[in-house]
Symmetry: C2
Subunit: 536 residues, 2 copies
């Protein structure tokens, strides 16, 4: 049976090394009645309760508890690869549960484990893995979403009590869109650390929000944000802090700490670099988002492709109507997304392996700049590709694709916000290009102007060769030629962007933000060309 053999080999490739674990999880979930319910008829509160119960079910599975404890103790070799495998299975079962698990384990858990000391992990994350409480991640504010460096929440150190006082000084400083805000017990809150009147930039603090009975701690307010396009099971809210006192030990202290008498210490002196290091440490959750998008995409494709093989419409005169997958437009709309899903599966795994290796060797993720850029690019590309894919799946399944029972609409609505959260996609593309420009400048070493000119010349000769090759029609299906073409596109865009920025900033003395902004369309085109080409 070569067909069966081929299928199982493909599923092995798709699931990768953790296929057995994923299969066991799939089986556990498929046998759990909580996942058999649909939520269309439920109220918002009932939907959130169902999601919380589903998350609790997942977290208490022995496999999951074993895995999460690894995050607290010594890191396993393949922790990130394994986490992503698990995330995909949960998201396929229910995206809201997957996203809520991402908030509790990835964002809150990631903040504690990547920004905290071993003692802080024991104190704040071990109980989560033991289902004693859940956490949330409070970075975004009303006034600052993409530009998180500008957050306004304050954390004043008070030496007399050895406490930090967390405060929301104004409307714009309110923490917004916080997932698990209406149910969670404590939050990883980013605030400007102020010691002796001097700001040390944003740091992360553990702030208790409500006790196990749901009673709020003094000074903390959580406002329900209620109805969203999707992810109804995730309770997003607004957090406001009115001079909330927390112990000194609640500052996650890997990148900065305050001594009892109020002296600030940090292994990184530059404030901006320090914050970059914190953000870099949180990169793994960004890669998880790629996997969440992939889960939605694969599920949508399975539904749409299967339907297209069963539905018949139109056909040759006086003959049976043909399967709609045989309509040229139908397969030309669906198949490229299937190809993209496969390409993204393997590129994501490649990035996860690089990350695991970096962490295994104790390297700071801040120093893996090209990995940062790859992950930012993958986040943008995969979440956009997911939306385009699901939209085609929706349209290619006609009226059926508009009915909630067929899952595609909910997948679309749930994953729509993926292009925004964990870093807006347009900002992500700029992260990619800043890295490309840095590499480019390094390559050119000394004389920037000379380098640019030399490169422009070689671009011109490239152009000639490529366009001559382009005339041969059989080249279109030749992978080596296609790779050459996408590399060429990227190179031309990169060199011309460098030249434009050089002229604006170095020659015309334009302010950098203005210069960069006037090239932003060029920047995003280059970023997409880079991601499209794939691995370095």
């Amino acid at each position: 049976m070569p067909g069966k053999c081929a299928r199982s080999t493909l599923s092995q490739y798709l699931d990768g090394e953790f296929q057995d674990l994923k299969d066991r999880l799939r089986q556990e979930i498929s046998q759990c009645e909580l996942f058999h319910l649909t939520s269309y008829d439920l109220t918002l509160d009932e939907t959130r309760d169902l999601t919380a119960e589903r998350l609790h079910f997942v977290l208490q599975l022995p496999e999951m508890r074993r895995h999460l404890k690894e995050q607290v103790k010594e890191r396993q070799n393949r922790f990130i690869c394994k986490s992503l495998g698990i995330a995909e299975v949960i998201c396929t079962a229910d995206l809201a549960t997957g996203v809520k698990m991402g908030v509790v384990c990835g964002l809150f858990g990631g903040a504690v484990t990547n920004l905290g000391s071993p003692e802080q992990k024991e104190k704040w994350y071990l109980p989560v893995t033991e289902l004693q409480f859940t956490g949330m991640f409070a970075m975004t504010e009303r006034g600052h979403g993409s530009n998180v460096r500008g957050i306004l929440t304050e954390a004043h150190y008070e030496p007399s009590s050895q406490e930090f006082i967390i405060n929301t000084p104004c409307e714009d400083a309110k923490k917004m869109y916080i997932g698990n805000a209406m149910k969670g017990n404590c939050a990883a809150v980013f605030a400007q650390l102020i010691v002796n009147g001097e700001s040390q930039g944003p740091h992360c603090f553990i702030v208790p929000i409500r006790d196990h009975q749901g009673v709020m701690y003094p000074g903390v307010t959580a406002v329900d944000m209620k109805h969203k396009e999707g992810l109804h099971g995730v309770d997003n809210g607004i957090l406001v802090f009115n001079n909330v006192h927390i112990p000194r030990e609640n500052l996650l202290n890997k990148f900065g700490s305050v001594s009892p008498d109020g002296v600030y210490h940090s292994p990184i002196q530059n404030k901006s670099k320090r914050f970059n290091a914190m953000l870099a440490a949180l990169t793994p959750t960004r890669l998880a988002l790629t996997v969440q998008a992939l889960a939605a995409m694969k599920l949508g494709l399975i539904i749409a492709v299967r339907y297209s093989h069963s539905r018949r419409q139109f056909g040759p005169r006086d003959q049976e109507e043909v399967k709609i997958i045989e309509h040229q437009t139908q397969y030309l709309r669906l198949m490229p997304h299937l190809a993209a899903a496969l390409a993204l599966t393997f590129t994501t795994r490649f990035a996860a392996e690089m990350m695991d290796e970096a962490l295994h060797h104790g390297r700071d993720l801040m120093n893996s700049r090209s990995l940062q850029a790859l992950v930012a690019g993958l986040k943008a590309y995969s979440t956009w590709e997911n939306l385009a894919c699901l939209q085609d799946c929706r349209e290619c399944t006609g009226g059926m694709g508009f009915m909630m029972e067929n899952r595609i609409p909910a997948l679309k609505c749930d994953s729509d916000v993926f292009v925004t959260f964990e870093g807006d996609n347009v900002v992500m593309l700029q992260v990619v290009v800043r890295e490309l420009m840095t590499q480019y400048t390094k390559q050119l070493e000394s004389n920037a102007m000379f380098g640019l000119l030399r490169n422009w010349t070689s671009t011109a000769s490239d152009s000639l060769r490529t366009s001559v090759l382009g005339f041969s029609m059989d080249k279109v299906g030749d992978l080596a030629f296609l790779l050459k073409a996408v590399s060429y596109r990227e190179r031309v865009l990169q060199r011309s962007l460098a030249a434009r920025l050089y002229t604006k900033v170095e020659k015309n003395k334009d302010e950098f933000f203005r210069a960069w902004n006037s090239c932003l369309h060029h920047v995003t085109s280059l970023a997409l060309a880079h991601i499209h080409r794939g691995r370095r």
Copy 2:
């Protein structure tokens, strides 16, 4: 105050000749408390009830009643233009109400008024305008959505009782996605008319569904289709007929009638042409859909552009952050949609005027083939453009754009099905190209092969001239050059498609459906190029 003056002139242009009527309607609606409610917290049934109440409110407005009565009596000069103006106002207030009004007045009302006799209009549509009952439109079946010619519902004529017997012979014949199916009183049902054992093709019958107390008529079943991605206020259902007897007078008889003793008469002998004539008579509702999409698009743009002028994020070092509309990517994402909304506004009005003129002069819409093609193309282009626009509005407003209270998500979910209903967009593009190919064949008159060759030659010389012009950079902003470019693209695609089809069908003797299907991507590219160029 030149600014104010410019604005009011623009709004005059946008609203067109019915600005005063539209303003009065806007005021009536804005003062109606039913439209102040939000439906996120309501159950599905409550949402549907609210929509029904909103529709009732709109239909009882004196302006509306006057307008609808015009549809029953002698047609006014500008009936379609006026209807579209009204539809836009209602859809801007609430898309579900606008769509439900479209079902009751446009689809059911349009079937009765365009396929029925004057007496049938008096009997079946006048009561709707007097709020005595509401109707629905039952064409689509489970087995046949796009290919409606293949519907399976049967209407047998029984001379002994002078009745038609409407029957659903199988699962695939069930009428699906029928709007107002859970609340409406009677349906315009398309069924294969069978007289003396001979089928005369699809015809439209008025079938009573439920009385004023909601009691179903014998033999009729309506199954609730429940939860959809959007348009929650529209009650879609499945209709099943188990040998339902209706009087002979319930066959809408403009294009075909049966005498008491069972003799079939029709002004059109060819069955296929007859059905085409019926479909053509229903074209106005397709144009209404373009207006519904435009309403969603304009509203989304207003929200996104205003937000982009108030939100600030990032900026030059040590200066205030800039408004996000100043980010190059932000305005490059939003402004083309604004331009498209304007272009579509005027093109739609142009099509409506053509349609009004044809109807005013008593011309059958079937004979205005190029108008049919324009409307089909506008339907596809505007509904896709709307979705692309709303998606950019959603993304450009960040997290805010994911919150239901900011309307963009609901607009997106409600209007998503516009690309499917009233004719799937991919099918609409094929309607456009069939018309283009017919015109092309006519142009070539006699010797097809010779004509093709001659045209290919002129294409080649066009190509040369255009590419030389293309080198001059200032041409890019020159409207005459751009029009030349889009015409050129269309011409090349049209000639090459004709040549490909000619080779396949005439030379290689391929079956037509297969030949056409193997060019389907080419077909859709040509259709979009044609619509993109705009007016003929």
